[in-house]
């Protein structure tokens, strides 16, 4: 099928984009309504992939994108999101309730003043989003996100067509924890100005369930297992207020890492033998998913797809003197795959038609 062919009005679509580092989910909620969850940039690094894709299939971004969700503020999930928010004027902007605190806003303001490196940080992208929302708002007392998502909060509803979008996390305990955790990153007098780095474990991510009639999608964001039943995935699977539904498609959490996996996800939230899709993470000592992660997921899913595989490749050839120097230093270098791959899943929404799933792969996306 052509990449530029839009879905039918009664088709649910999940499009997952990801280069070696980055993730963006675009969902057709039916009848021309769209949701974008997180963002990464296109190959040239200039535009968000969601903007490029939706324009390519002829979507009126200004009016048809109804919901934009920032699951958390890590830079691999948020690059280019401000540009999308700027274009999608009718969209409601949703982010984690765990960020609704003075500590996070201090971090946002501080990072905006600190321009240390060429690459933008996730926090500075967040600052740009808040700036756009503030300028757009006519109400001086409601200039922020439209909704702070938490466990069991409904983000979208189309009651005529039986379509709903729910946030399953963060848990209330995580929201309480996050203030102290973020406070640990805050600048203090006489501390050197430094780029703010990522907070671990990532319990404050917004996981999302899309329910469209008999069909459901589970978007795992970067939520990790959690250290007890009140945090992370453990809180989600034990929640008394989240919707109960078994999803046919699972966007695997945190790039398939073991610390974001829990047996109960696959029994309580996901249907038997679901289609699993994920993005890789080529950063750091242990790129994700590892070969063990892939084996584990393949045992649980009927099919497993990754947007960019392998996520990293050999670095470009450089001047022989440079190559020789790096070799003598014992340096290990890998180039992150820059081209975002694309996995597109389409399922009919109608009650009377058995779900017939089509999976298409574009760019560097692969079945694992």
């Amino acid at each position: 099928m052509s990449k530029t062919l839009p879905p039918q009005a009664n088709e649910l679509e999940l499009s997952l984009f990801g280069p070696g580092i980055g993730e963006c989910v675009v969902v057709h909620l039916g009848h021309g309504d769209w949701m974008v969850v997180d963002s990464c940039r296109s190959f040239d690094g200039k535009r968000p992939v969601a903007l490029e894709y939706l324009e390519g299939i002829g979507i009126d971004i200004k009016h048809q994108v109804k919901l934009i969700v920032a699951t958390h503020w890590h830079d691999d999930h948020i690059r280019g999101l401000a540009q999308l928010v700027d274009h999608a004027e009718a969209a409601r902007f949703v982010c984690s309730s765990a960020l609704h605190c003075k500590e996070f806003l201090t971090l946002v303001l501080a990072d905006r003043d600190v321009k240390l490196v060429a690459q933008t940080s996730g926090i500075s992208e967040f600052a740009d989003i808040l700036h756009i929302l503030s300028n757009r708002s006519t109400d001086k007392c409601a200039a922020g996100p439209n909704q702070w998502a938490t466990e069991g909060s409904r983000l979208y509803v189309d009651s005529d067509r039986n379509v709903e979008v729910w946030a399953l996390s963060p848990s209330s305990q995580t929201v309480t924890d996050s203030k102290a955790a973020i406070a640990g990153l805050l600048p203090s007098p006489r501390a050197p100005i430094r780029r703010f780095y990522q907070l671990r474990p990532n319990d404050l991510s917004v996981t999302i369930m899309v329910i469209a009639s008999r069909t459901s999608l589970l978007l795992g964001a970067d939520l990790e297992r959690g250290r007890d039943q009140t945090r992370g995935w453990q809180a989600v699977v034990n929640s008394k207020i989240n919707p109960t539904c078994l999803s046919q498609i699972y966007k695997v959490a945190h790039h398939g890492s073991a610390d974001a996996d829990l047996g109960e996800i696959w029994t309580k939230l996901v249907a038997r033998q679901p289609h699993a899709v994920l993005t890789p993470y080529a950063r750091g000592a242990k790129p994700l998913p590892s070969p063990e992660d892939v084996s584990r997921m393949k045992r649980r899913a009927s099919s497993l797809f990754c947007t960019a595989w392998p996520p990293a490749k050999s670095p470009p050839r450089r001047d022989p003197a440079v190559e020789r120097t790096m070799k003598e230093m014992g340096v290990t270098l890998r180039a992150v795959r820059k081209q975002p791959g694309h996995i597109r899943v389409r399922i009919p929404i109608a009650e009377d038609i058995p779900p017939d799933t089509s999976v298409e792969l574009f760019g560097g996306a692969r079945a694992l």
Binding site: H100, G144, P187, A191, I193, A285, R318, K338
Partner: protein, 209 residues
Amino acid sequence: MSSTRTFQQTQETKATAGKMPIWGASVSEVGQLFESAEAVLTKPNLKSEWDGGPLVSLLDYPPEAPTEHVRKDIRENYSQLIRLTSPRGPQRLFEILQQWEGVVSEITEDSVWADLVDLTDRTRAEEVVELPLAEICPADRPILRPGSVFYWAIGREWTRSGQMRRISEIRIRRTPQWSQHAVDLLNAKATDLLERFNGDVENTAATGQ
């Protein structure tokens, strides 16, 4: 502080040295900066006044040589004295072949993992590097944290004596400190922003609504 590592010059770098431009000048021009007497000779007005006798610079004598001894030696042995000032130009010339900007992502027992942006060719993809910790200057290691910014350059260095070496230089960026005033200002702005969001932070955090 920086960590600089030099590498033995190879046959390949020797062969190409004469052709490599340094800040717009050829290697032979760079050599002139250091070989002061030759540099003077290339100037036409001085050349025309020179009678062809040997040239000498006061710099050819060790600094500890007694002035009177030097003057006597020059008077007796050389037909004409050209006084030269100290050699001008930089102490060190460094031709950058490759440069990255890095942000430390992870520090293990013996290595540093970082995300790199290629400053030599910004169209290139982001890279991930594992640098042996030994490549970081010991004085810089205590300030190394996830989030630290550094610059890494690989190139060729020319010394004043005309020697060329391959160099890898890693400089950890030292940044200013947060002042009490800046921190107070950030806190005040954050309070104001939170009020604009029409939220009561205490209630929100407690209820998760």
